[in-house]
């Protein structure tokens, strides 16, 4: 068994045992780590593997959250079935944005900005159209039952987040082994050269954004079912886009485990500093302490490890 496989088995065993050993609060923290890693991976597949950096990935997240919530609350759909519809809607929005942007020849920072613009348009639409209830937001009735995608015991939502994270890791792993993944890497490294090699750049980019959109939308539904309330600011707020981008960049964009490691590190720093601020009497009134430490750590990681934390595990070339 290789060292990576062994680490995966040990990590999985630890993740499975975690909720059985710790109090509910830490189960929730664990759930947030895997959930953030999952939506981070959805960004990583488009932004990291294919190099299509997006600043507005939250557009897919919000589409998923609103699609399943509207289907469930307004039309009475079962949330599990609505979840599938949400993924389809996220994929469709990804396809639409990709076709419109790539047909217009947008690349690099222009593409990043157009995704941000799409997210803003969707947020304003969600604020304006009656079927989203505008700024009032949408409330999902609390009715804890697995059939309703609501769980009384946080352990189950934790395991669901873990499952999503594992699926996203498997998708990323498959990308590193497949021809599709190889074509994406070629596009990321040099789009013109990839085209010269006979790769249909437009089709590949549309495919990857559709996949990424569907995944991110699944995260949106998960969020809505966990917190039972969404509004345009929550569902299409730019901070979620930043979160997805950040965990991937800190962990290592374009790597399988980057978003997971990034999520684990950033959530860990956030929780530890918040805990310190709450238990150390001298720090109790220093309200933004956790944010200050979080910011400093972020600067240090980005400055010292521009390729993310995954670069620490890369084998260094031997010198003769």
């Amino acid at each position: 068994m290789s060292r990576v496989a062994l680490l995966c088995v040990v990590g999985l065993a630890a993740a499975l045992a975690w909720p059985l050993l710790v109090p509910n609060y830490l189960v929730t923290v664990g759930m947030l780590v895997f959930f953030t890693a999952f939506i981070g991976q959805s960004w990583n597949i488009a932004g990291g593997f294919a190099g299509q950096t997006s600043f507005g990935h939250v557009v897919f997240f919000g589409t998923g959250a609103y699609t399943s919530t509207i289907l469930q609350v307004t039309w009475g759909w079962n949330p599990w079935i609505a979840w599938i519809a949400a993924m389809a809607a996220g994929g469709a929005v990804g396809w639409m944005i990709a076709v419109l942007s790539f047909r217009a020849g947008l690349r690099g920072s222009y593409f990043a900005l157009i995704t941000l613009a799409f997210a803003e348009v969707f947020r304003i639409l969600a604020n304006s159209v009656p079927f989203t209830k505008g700024g009032l937001g949408m409330l999902i009735k609390a009715d804890p039952s697995p059939a309703n995608f609501q769980f009384k015991d946080p352990i189950w939502i934790y395991y669901l987040a873990l499952l999503l994270c594992i699926v996203s890791l498997l998708i990323a792993w498959q990308l590193t082994r497949s021809r599709f993944g190889a074509r994406l890497v070629a596009i990321r490294e040099n789009e013109d050269a990839a085209r010269a090699l006979g790769i249909d750049v437009f089709a590949e980019k549309v495919k990857v954004l559709t996949l990424s959109g569907a995944m991110c939308a699944a995260g949106g539904t998960f969020y809505a079912q966990k917190y039972l309330y969404i509004d345009p600011g929550i569902a299409f707020g730019v901070d979620k886009s930043v979160e997805m981008l950040l965990v991937s960049m800190v962990g290592g964009a374009g790597t399988i485990f980057g978003p997971l490691i990034g999520s684990f590190t950033l959530m860990g720093i956030n929780e530890v500093t918040r805990w310190l601020a709450s238990v150390v009497p001298a720090l109790k009134n220093v309200q933004p302490l956790s944010l200050i430490v979080y910011g400093i750590m972020l600067i240090l990681i980005v400055a010292r490890l521009p390729d993310g934390l995954m670069s620490l595990f890369r084998r260094r070339p031997r010198h003769a």
């Binding site: 609390a142 345009p232 600011g233």
Partner: protein, 407 residues
């Protein structure tokens, strides 16, 4: 030859040792006699875009806990002290819920929070899972109280009542001024609280002979209101009505003043920035502006004493301070009646509470589905760099100026 050390115990050592031993054996008994502190979870956004409001709530809450403890704690529980567990929601739903979980592990008896309605909705839902009482101190959304959750209580009125009282108040003012106002423009923040308030206003304004010309939503945060001010000027309404958070409220008011938007009155419902900071720092801008909001009873000696105390710390006596303060007092009163921090008993005591909110201009406390029926807002006007209550009449400290003189 080895030298053996003797282990002689002197009388002094024996006495000192036995005293320590007796202390060690007796101390747990003494500690046991002290009733366990009741943990109160206070979750507010002390960082993030509404950090100031959250910090003000925290100030009020911690002052109230100090006062309860100084007065001997919860007497029916043998003088049990209140202990604050302070949480920062960072203005984010998931962090607010995470704080609920963390405090639950720490044995919290009740929660107070969370300022923003969306955070409050999710956090109180999480508290419901553990059957822990949740007191909404500032959140205005009526969605908070419409979910049938038995653990959620709100002493203050929601925006539905604020709109009704505001409409009645504006109607009376307009009538006294020979119905000078016939049209209004409503500017609101685009979130749940602003949108809900604005929609209600638009439907109810015609009942007092005023038509809503347009509803203008803005984002949070918004840092430039020039376009909105120009739009309002072009619409030429008689009244501008605002419903938004602190910074946006003040910035909008200043922009309207700078652009010389002449109207009969500025009348806000739950204007987040209508406070002492605003009227002291911008007396010209705020002059004659009116707001329907949570306000203390200016005729209450307790409220005046607390105001002095808060101002002595260099802070402002904003509504967050006395609303959270009053909620801690409500909780202490319920604990006194329940005689226990048992969650079910505490919820029953809150549901049956007849707590007298000394600081507030409220009627008798009566909770129906968690919402206090006695809670009511006040109508205030900024006059000469101060805030005066102009309605309800029994609490009024000045007479309203409406319509306002032209700029």
């Amino acid at each position: 030859m080895t030298k053996q050390r003797t282990q002689a115990v002197s009388r002094r050592t024996f006495l000192a040792g036995s005293t320590v031993l007796a202390g060690a054996i007796g101390a747990p008994g003494l500690v046991g006699a002290q009733p366990a502190a009741v943990k109160v979870g206070m979750i507010h956004p002390v960082t993030g875009f509404v950090a100031y409001n959250g910090q003000q709530s925290r100030l009020g809450g911690t002052m109230a806990i100090e006062d309860v403890n100084k007065a001997g704690g919860i007497k029916s529980m043998g003088g049990a002290k209140l202990e604050a567990l302070l949480g920062d929601s960072q203005s984010k739903v998931e962090v607010g819920v995470s704080e609920v979980e963390k405090m639950n592990e720490q044995g919290v008896a009740a929660y107070i929070g969370c300022f923003q309605s969306p955070v409050g909705i999710a956090a109180s839902q999480a508290a419901a899972k553990y059957g822990t009482p949740f007191l909404v101190d500032v959140g205005a959304s009526d969605l908070l109280m419409s979910r049938g959750l038995k653990n959620v209580f709100r002493l203050k009125p929601g925006f539905g009542v604020c709109v009704d009282d505001g409409i009645a108040s504006l109607g009376a003012l307009n009538k006294a001024a020979n119905n000078v106002a016939k049209t209004a423009v409503i500017v609101h923040e685009s979130g749940e609280f602003g949108t809900g308030t604005a929609k209600l206003l638009a439907t109810k304004l015609p009942s007092i002979g005023i038509a809503a010309k347009e509803l203008i939503a803005h984002d949070n945060p918004t840092r430039n209101f020039d376009n909105i001010a120009l739009r309002i000027r072009s619409l030429a309404p008689d009244i501008v009505m605002m419903s938004n958070y602190g910074n946006e409220y003040m910035l909008l008011a200043r922009t309207l003043y700078q652009q010389k938007v002449n109207v009969a009155g500025f009348f806000s419902i739950l204007g987040g920035g209508f406070n002492y900071k605003f009227v002291k720092e911008m007396p010209d801008v705020s002059q004659y502006m009116m707001d329907v909001n949570h306000w203390y009873n200016p005729k209450s000696p307790q409220a005046q004493a607390l105001k002095k105390r808060v101002e002595a710390t260099g802070a402002l006596f904003t509504f967050e301070v006395y609303l959270t303060y009053t909620n801690v007092m409500l909780l202490a009163d319920a604990l006194e009646h329940a005689g226990s921090a048992d969650k079910e008993k505490l919820i029953a005591a809150l549901a049956a509470s007849t707590f007298k909110a000394e600081l507030m201009p409220y009627g008798p406390t009566k909770f129906v589905n968690g919402q206090n029926q006695g809670g009511r807002p006040a109508t205030m006007q900024s006059l000469k760099g101060d805030i005066e209550v102009i309605a309800p009449e029994e609490f009024a400290s000045a007479k309203a100026v409406f319509p306002k003189p032209k700029l």
